[in-house]
């Protein structure tokens, strides 16, 4: 059984008496231990889809199954990393990381233990008492990642997690996210990442799901069988990047 199954997922928004179909009969599976990237033009509904997978929104029709069970609201095994970091400015790094655990009813001692563990894992040791205003964009996103990891999800959803960062910081975090995903001591099995960067998707994913412009439909799913660590200058890398571009453009 796949970790996640999407079956004919459709999302329609009603606006000023009109119906706007954002996603149209989207179906694909995510197996265990996979890194899947969703790519497509802006407005194709890929972020909406990620929100529905995370239980933050619901499909108009179709089904989303996590381990065979319909996703109904926020699932304890699924966590999200947002593009805009979504940190509370009045809370310290530790308090921001503990937040997801607090909302799940975890006791304070266990919260602190988990927060410390994942703060260390993402290299934020030394910043525990810092407030978001003291942090660079890269460090803020590390807090976002630590907060998501602290609830020990099996499926991690990332919504354009590097797009608000400068090019070098983004590269650093891409490498770190891959290291975390490959770490056998972490509970995360699979990652679904929304990106508008095709090269980024080829760099990170095992499989790329390419979407059409609105309404978003799956144009193709492309396996990425390149060995890791990947080099953007390899001929096979460039060929695959070009292939995905040609699907979308």
């Amino acid at each position: 059984m796949a970790l996640l199954e999407l079956k004919d997922v459709t999302k329609v928004y009603a606006e000023e008496g009109r119906s706007i179909t954002v996603l149209d009969r989207v179906s694909f599976d995510v197996e265990e231990e996979r890194f899947v990237c969703l790519v497509g033009p802006s407005g194709c509904g890929k972020s909406t889809l990620l929100r529905m997978i995370a239980g933050l929104d619901q499909p108009t029709s179709g089904r989303i199954l996590y381990e065979g069970r319909p996703v109904a609201g926020v699932d304890p095994h699924i966590a999200v990393v947002f593009q805009s970091f979504a940190l509370f400015p009045w809370l310290t790094v530790t308090q921001n990381v503990e937040l997801g655990l607090e909302s799940r009813g975890v006791d304070p001692t266990t919260r602190r233990r988990f927060a410390d563990k994942y703060i260390d894992q993402v290299g934020l040791d030394g910043f525990e008492e810092a407030y978001p205003r003291e942090l660079s964009g890269g460090m803020k996103q590390r807090v976002g990642i630590a907060r998501a990891l602290a609830v020990e999800p099996r499926l991690l959803c990332m919504d354009e997690p590097f797009s608000a960062l400068d090019a070098l910081t983004a590269q650093n975090l891409r490498e770190e996210v891959l290291s975390l995903w490959e770490d056998p001591n972490l509970k995360v099995s699979s990652i679904i990442m929304v990106t508008h960067g095709i090269e980024e998707a080829v760099f990170m994913a095992d499989r790329i799901v390419a979407f059409s412009a609105r309404p978003g439909r799956v144009i193709s799913t492309v396996p990425v069988d390149l060995p890791r660590p990947r080099n953007r200058k390899d001929e096979a890398f460039l060929r695959l990047t070009d292939q995905v571009y040609s699907l979308i453009v």
Binding site: Q121, G126, G138
Partner: protein
Amino acid sequence: MDLILLPDVSLSEVMGFLELLEDAGGREDVFRISESLNLELDDILPVIEAGELLALLEAEEGDVALTALGRGFLDADVNQRKKILARQLAGIKVFARVLATLREHRNGRAPRRLFIDEFAERLPDEEAARLVHTVVDWGRYAEIIGYSPETEEVYLDQG
């Protein structure tokens, strides 16, 4: 005090640059890297300067190359990287000065303002404040310096 200004960049940027350099085989033309990232020279030069200051890379005649320490750094996990950075930072004059001042203070703590005022004897106020910000940012990552936003004190991070 003979100050060495720190480039105003984050260590995440430096690490990202090292990783790109590794992808390029460990040596690359600066122009090619900046072109591939759509970065201006003004964006990339401070990052190279920081990498050189930390002895993780060397620049010569328009090329940049990873040093042996830089390669070791990239192979290390996050906690080993912090140890390497801690060692390198301790050898940089401005850090040595801050660490020495902290050791002279009770409990290894001193107001952030003290360092800004000290650096402002040699630098414009804005640059002095930026230098303290960078010292605290790098020092915190390497876990040699801590900072309390409540008391606005810098302190020795003794693990």
